[in-house]
Amino acid sequence: MSRKPYIRSVSTTSWWTVQPRYIRYMAREVSCVLIGAYSAVVVIGLLRLAEGAAAWNAFLECLQKPTSIAFHLLALAFALYHTTTWFNVTPKAMPIQLGETQLPGGIIIGAHYAGWVVVSVVILFLVGV
């Protein structure tokens, strides 16, 4: 018997391009880069605030440049994508069974969105909107 199993290689760089579901996955994962960058911007903003009015105003001016606005829109889009995809899978990660029936996934997802709205309202209130 002359077995010679053949091992097919999978590209480590372009594996995700072959199927739409992999592309969607990478988009979700890549969002962390943009969210990380956005967090860095926020931290820089805090630092500038601590440095005084001139530094703070310069920072605000920077934020209004077209590249900055483009970046923020992109970061927002990816953050929304990440959040919605994540919310949508929570029923699978934490199923809730009452008696013999599963709590409908929609309720768990809905609770997450509701929580998001509540937290957003609280924050907006705190910043005086």
Partner: protein, 371 residues
């Protein structure tokens, strides 16, 4: 079965082949008896619950636990055959069918109790049982017969044990009841395992290495010969198709001397033609041409045993039904048939009395009418 058969163990009661009444046309995919257990009904092309015409009980009161549709499988398949003769079945491109109607169960019950049935019907015949009845027809399902063994799963060949569908203790007689195949596996599988373990641990090994090696080499030569054979005129697929056709036509739900005679002749002929099979695939790694050829050889031997056992049983009993011998003949045939392998001829058929311990054979009466 063929391995034990060729090694000298007889095949018992091979004429008893069960047709399951509800298989999908074309693929033959099984629609479980559970669909009738949950209340499904069988109707012909006029929407009539035809089983009431075949001594399986009255249609009403309904629903009830022992409804007609839960009659034994052999009787239901036979009823289908009669309906087909009367022209009351429905024509489809894959043969004629009757309808298994589950609509009255409702979507909720179907999804809860019969989700697989719903999926199979939608996928393979494009019918949603919630809205439409499922087309079904009898399909070959189970072999009551098999390797002759006793209640400890022991065969006449010392050290050989058999359990499950390949074996025939017999606990299923001429017609098996639903679910007993699974329980049979568990019970006799355990007994076979225990028996084999006991035998192995209690016996000194007398293995004659030289003799065993010689046997192995003979087997290797035989298989190697099959792989290397050149200039053969027969194809595995062709012989298989001919076998399927003759067995379905001659040894189906209803049999006659003529139909069985034809099958016996054809099977004997196929056995000889099998020697001319040439394999296209001569490789040694996962050669499925070889596997199919070996399986075909086994099927041909076993099919011949079925046909010859059937033609010799000149009565009707359970799943072995003959149009030329319609009554059950306990005087002559309250016996198990035993088919003994012959390398050059048809199998030799012998009989062994049925062992009766507690229940005497009675009349098969269904539908709640007890004697």
């Amino acid at each position: 079965m063929a391995m034990a058969y060729r090694a000298g163990v007889p095949l018992k009661d091979m004429e008893f082949v069960q047709y399951h009444p509800t298989g999908l046309p074309g693929t033959g995919i099984l629609i479980t008896e559970g669909s009738r257990g949950e209340g499904g009904i069988l109707v012909n092309k006029d929407g009539y619950r035809y089983l009431q015409d075949y001594d399986l009980g009255p249609p009403d009161p309904w629903p009830r636990k022992k409804a007609m549709e839960l009659g034994p499988r052999d009787r239901l398949s036979q009823a289908f055959w009669h309906e087909a003769q009367k022209g009351r079945t429905i024509d489809t491109p894959h043969g004629d069918v009757v309808h298994l109607d589950l609509r009255h169960l409702g979507e909720k019950k179907i999804d809860e109790r019969l989700p697989m049935v719903r999926d199979l019907a939608i996928s393979y015949v494009g019918v949603d049982p919630v809205h439409d009845p499922i087309p079904v027809r009898p399909v070959v399902h189970y072999t009551m017969g098999g390797i002759d063994c006793d209640i400890d799963a022991k065969t006449s060949l010392e050290g050989l044990y058999a359990a499950g569908e390949c074996a025939c203790v017999s606990i299923n007689g001429a017609n098996r009841l639903g679910s007993n195949s699974l329980t049979e596996l568990l019970v006799f599988g355990a007994r076979a395992g225990r028996g084999a373990a006991e035998l192995a641990s209690s016996t000194e090994s007398h293995a004659d290495e030289a003799a065993i090696r010689e046997q192995a080499e003979t087997a290797q030569k035989r298989v190697g010969g099959l792989v290397q054979r050149a200039g053969g005129s027969e194809s595995v697929a062709g012989l298989r198709r001919e076998m399927n056709t003759t067995m379905e036509t001659g040894a189906g739900i209803y049999r006659t001397e003529d139909s069985l005679g034809q099958s016996c002749v054809t099977m004997s002929d196929l056995r000889q033609r099998y020697a001319n099979v040439e394999l296209e695939d001569k490789s040694n790694v996962y050669n499925t041409d070889l596997i199919q050829a070996l399986e075909l050889g086994a099927m041909i031997d076993v099919a011949e045993a079925i046909a010859v056992s059937a033609i010799n049983r000149k009565e009707s009993r359970g799943s072995h039904q003959r149009l030329d011998f319609v009554e059950r003949d306990d005087k002559t045939y309250l016996k198990h048939s035993l088919a003994h392998y012959d390398a050059n001829n048809e199998p030799r058929i012998e009989y062994r009395d049925v062992v009766i311990t507690r229940s005497q054979p009675g009349e098969r009466v269904y539908g709640g009418e007890q004697k």
